[in-house]
């Protein structure tokens, strides 16, 4: 069964630029555990998409398999959704965006989905720089199969049953940066204030924007000994940068340039306003970003914010010089050379 949220029209509710209310960005009722971090991320997505006035039909919601991958059903019911197979969301999104480059792609994945079974596709969608938001809802476990360690579990952290994870973890953000990602951010499901503008910036970024969100699994990984629990994250997170997203039509005020704040202007005219909380941090330089991450990781700190951005890395379609008209809308006459050309061509086959 799909549980549909009863639609209640509230008088005087706020509408966005395309006349839609926040509710119009909601989906069916979540069937995740009460308190699951994933639901907070869904709420942040709803907020961000509403604020950006994205037309629901322009959006495609893609996912793999896992509790996290169920969430596309829980936001923007007017958008097409695609719950694919485990670890393979990136390839379906790549094909979909190849066929229609005008769509706005949001991929939701889990740490198991992206860092184990789908590690290959995770790397290659970054490499291809497919224009989409790639969200990892990272809880350190396989929620849906009942709590096994995932590849993002930290060495030394313990499972609910008390086993100690001996293996090194795969760090999604460091991996993404070192693989050449053009946009990498990290946040926490409990930090809506940071997450919403980060999501908006990621959607606006012209390329593959990886956002790793630590999202506690209340059922299998919220105990003492876990490094992905609510309390552990609250105690250990460190904001390296703060971001704000400024749509194309808004003017950039002079004060935005003050001190450690500067706007990154995107090709579509919008800007990401970036403020360095830590003056040491430079999210436009790869080795600086990686060094910073590593320094703080060794101190047990979880660095959050927009961690790396380079909007000049060519995205898939500029790499392959695809026409601006979505391929799915090309007229057949523009694709088919016709009988005369076929006959000419065959002169060379004789």
């Amino acid at each position: 069964m799909t549980y549909v949220r009863p639609k209640i029209e509230l008088p005087g509710q706020k509408l966005n630029e395309i006349g839609l209310a926040l509710r119009d960005y909601e989906g069916s009722l979540s069937t995740l555990c009460a308190g699951c971090g994933h639901d907070s991320i869904t709420a942040a997505l709803v907020q961000a998409l509403w604020e950006m006035s994205i037309a629901p039909e322009q959006l495609i919601k893609m996912s793999g398999i896992g509790c996290s991958s169920k969430t596309p059903a829980y936001f923007v019911h007017g958008a097409h959704g695609f719950n694919s197979v485990h670890g393979r969301m990136p390839s379906v999104a790549t094909g979909a965006l190849a066929g229609n480059r005008d769509l706005i792609g949001i991929g939701v994945s889990g740490d198991g989905d992206s860092l184990s079974i789908g590690f290959g596709q995770f790397g290659h969608v970054i490499r291809r720089n497919v224009n989409m938001l790639y969200l990892i809802e990272n809880n350190g476990v396989y929620g849906l199969t009942k709590g096994q360690f995932s590849a993002s579990a930290d060495a030394g952290s313990t499972s609910k049953k008390g086993q100690v994870n001996q293996m090194q973890n795969i760090n999604a953000v460091a991996t993404a940066i070192s693989m050449g990602a053009s946009f990498v951010g990290r946040s926490f499901s409990g930090d809506r204030e940071q997450l919403v503008p980060l999501i908006k910036s990621a959607i606006a970024h012209p390329g593959c924007a990886v956002v790793d969100v630590i999202s506690p699994c209340v059922t299998f990984n919220d105990h003492v000994g876990s490094t992905k629990s609510y309390s552990y994250i609250r105690d250990h997170k460190l904001r390296a940068t703060e971001t704000d997203y400024i749509p194309a039509r808004s003017e950039i005020k002079a004060s935005y340039y003050a001190g450690d704040t500067h706007p990154v202007r995107l090709h579509d005219g919008s800007s990401i306003l970036l403020r360095k909380v830590d003056p040491d941090y430079d999210p436009t330089r790869r080795n600086n970003a990686l060094g910073f991450l590593e320094r703080h990781r060794s101190r047990g700190e979880i660095v959050t914010g927009l961690l790396y951005i380079d909007q000049n890395v060519p995205e898939m379609h500029s790499q392959s010089r695809t026409v601006t008209t979505p391929l799915k809308d090309m007229k057949f006459e523009q694709l088919n050379p016709g009988s005369e050309e076929l006959n000419k061509l065959q002169q060379g086959m004789k």
């Binding site: 069964m1 037309a55 719950n83 694919s84 197979v85 066929g99 769509l103 290959g120 009988s339």
Partner: protein
């Protein structure tokens, strides 16, 4: 000297060389020369999984009756590879000829007295005439073409024209190539009595025909079908399909003014990803496909099942090679019939098209997209290395300019405006095919694609009845597919017979020739060539209408026979397999022998 049998326009010429020595252009020259003399001709590459250094053969069959399969004989062998000389010598049919490079003498033990051995000092001639080492090696190949021109009586004017066309941009090369041709030609004329009794004779100009490989034709077909997204991971023998699609896209689909590409070709990280990309592209309404071979299909299986259940059109082109496992990547087989028919876990089944030659590759590369979109399901185009990578003479491809793609049941914003509510998996028309919408068009058409249990409205379900309702409807769709796939081709024997032969794909040529040979021996058989799975009505009728049906296929486990038995269990005991699965294209001899042996046993029993 053995008695010499005259064979005009009916011979097999085999050239043994070393991989990577540049013999391909010389062999192409020979093929085209015969072709332009109007003689039906095919060329088969028998090559190793290697880039340089291992033995490789090219087998040209010229046959005035148009037989295309391997015949099992070799009339003229050009033994350019010292390593394989002994084997090559042994392979020549009695009464045949062997030409070798006599620059270096061969041991006396390497002789046969039932064939004629002709030594041409090719290296010596070329070393004297050309100074650069690399050129000498290449020209040695051209020189044997010259010797063959004299021995087989090829039209020198045609050879010259071909060289002029090939090197139109570099006229100097025309002269040096022609010089090499004449070295071989003159030597043969002076030293042997030319032409041989095995020879060519102009019989027309083949004006209605072309020479083409199946992969080339398939890529071209995808272009004509309007495919825009091609995703692939390189694998022999399918790579040529994407090479061809890319080449034709670059020729026809780049905007001359802006340089914009009206296509998107993605070299995926593996076949799993390629399959996902195809599914994604088709979901949004672009025609997407992937060419691959057996190992790729194994990897794609999860997505194939997904696309079956979520009902997303998708085109999978499988150019079969020899399995299991890596098997023999450069050899041919029809070993993936079962794999494709039922790819993926759970109850799945998929339509398959079986082209028999490049002409049908082109046609069916268009049909496969129409079927996939009409049926909203994965559809396979199943060719093989023999069709895909060998040079075939087929009739000219033709194109109907009034053709428009069949997008199947798609609802756009105008259709949706007339509806109260859109649901994805409802069988409105009773043919098992529901309506779909494309993302990016209308929020009213939004639905959620999932491989998990869903009901006819597209909602998630774990309810037994709701689940079964959808999976049963897919069977209704399967019945519809039977009426949409290409018909089988039936050729009746000259007289009434209780014998039938069933074949598909690249076994066709062998069966055509075998039937003629069997008829000369008084054995007459009707022939049905399967062109698609699921089987259309006439397939089962054909089986029921014959007492003994030989099922010819190129795999060990009689895969097509098994499929036929599932469809028509009542006649299972009338099916007799003729199997060939050593990696070489099936020769007609194999079919003839299979039928005769079985008929002999019947008579004895």
């Amino acid at each position: 000297m053995p008695a010499k049998q005259s064979r005009i326009n009916d011979f097999v010429l085999k050239i043994a060389t070393v991989n990577g020595t540049g013999s391909a252009s010389a062999n192409g020259l020979l093929m085209k020369a015969l072709f332009r003399m109007g003689i039906p001709v095919t060329g088969k590459n028998l090559f190793p999984s290697n880039i340089q250094g291992l033995p490789t053969w090219y087998e040209v069959r010229a046959n005035h009756l148009g037989y295309m399969s391997r015949s099992g004989r070799v009339d003229v062998m050009v033994a350019m590879n010292v390593q394989t000389y002994q084997k090559d010598l042994a392979e020549v049919s009695p009464g045949g000829f062997l030409i070798y490079d006599s620059t270096w003498p061969r041991a006396n033990s390497m002789q046969r007295d039932d064939i004629t051995v002709l030594g041409v000092p090719l290296s010596k001639l070329c070393n004297e005439a050309f100074s650069v080492a690399r050129i000498r090696i290449l020209m040695k190949n051209v020189a044997y073409v010259g010797a063959l021109a004299a021995l087989l009586d090829l039209d020198l004017k045609i050879v010259r024209t071909l060289l002029e066309e090939t090197f139109a941009a570099k006229p100097k090369l025309v002269e040096s190539n022609l010089q090499a041709i004449m070295l071989g030609y003159d030597y043969a004329k002076e030293n042997f009595s030319c032409p041989l009794p095995v020879r060519a004779e102009t019989m027309g100009d083949n004006s209605g025909n072309i020479l083409i490989t199946g992969n080339d034709a398939t890529g071209l077909g995808c272009l004509y079908a309007g495919a825009t997204v091609g995703a692939w991971y390189p694998i022999t023998p399918s790579t040529g399909v994407m090479d061809s699609f890319t080449m034709y896209c670059e020729k026809f689909r780049i905007d001359p003014e802006t340089g914009d590409h009206r296509f998107c070709i993605i070299q995926a990280e593996d076949e799993l990803a390629a399959a996902g990309m195809v599914v994604g592209a088709n979901w949004v309404g672009a025609r997407g496909f992937t060419p691959t071979s057996g190992p790729g299909i194994s990897l794609m299986s999860e997505f194939i099942g997904f696309a079956y259940y979520a009902e997303i059109p998708s085109v999978f082109i499988n150019v079969q090679r020899v399995g299991p496992s890596t098997g023999m990547p450069t050899r041919t087989q029809q070993g993936d019939v079962m794999l494709c028919a039922y790819a993926s876990h759970g109850d799945t089944r998929h339509p398959i098209l079986f082209p028999a030659n490049p002409y049908e590759c082109f046609e069916m590369a268009v049909t496969v997209f129409d079927l996939a979109e009409r049926l909203q399901t994965p559809v396979f185009l199943l060719t093989d290395l023999d069709i895909g990578m060998n040079d075939w003479m087929v009739k000219e491809l033709s194109w109907d300019d009034s053709y428009r793609p069949d997008r199947g049941k798609v609802l756009g914003p105008e259709d949706l405006a007339k509806m109260d509510r859109f649901v994805r998996y409802l069988d409105v028309d009773g043919d098992g095919i529901a309506y779909r919408t494309f993302p990016g068009e209308d929020p009213k058409g939004a639905y959620f694609v999932r491989g998990s249990g869903h009901n006819r409205y597209g909602g998630y379900t774990e309810d037994s009845d709701e689940f079964q309702d959808v999976i049963d409807r897919l069977l209704v769709k399967w019945e519809t597919a039977k009426s949409l796939v290409p018909d089988a081709v039936i050729s009746k024997a000259d007289r009434k017979t209780r014998l039938g032969i069933v074949a598909y794909g690249s076994s066709d040529g062998a069966v055509i020739e075998a039937r003629d040979r069997l008829a000369q021996d008084g054995i007459h058989a009707d022939y049905l060539r399967i062109r698609a799975f699921p089987f259309s009505k006439e397939v089962v009728e054909f089986l029921r209408g014959h007492d003994t049906i030989f099922v010819v296929e190129q795999n060990r486990d009689a895969q097509m026979k098994s499929l036929l038995m599932l469809e028509a269990n009542d006649i299972a005991d009338r099916l007799v397999s003729i199997l060939h699965y050593n990696g070489m294209p099936i020769p007609s001899e194999c079919v003839v022998r299979g039928v005769i042996e079985h008929q002999g046993e019947e008579a004895a029993a």
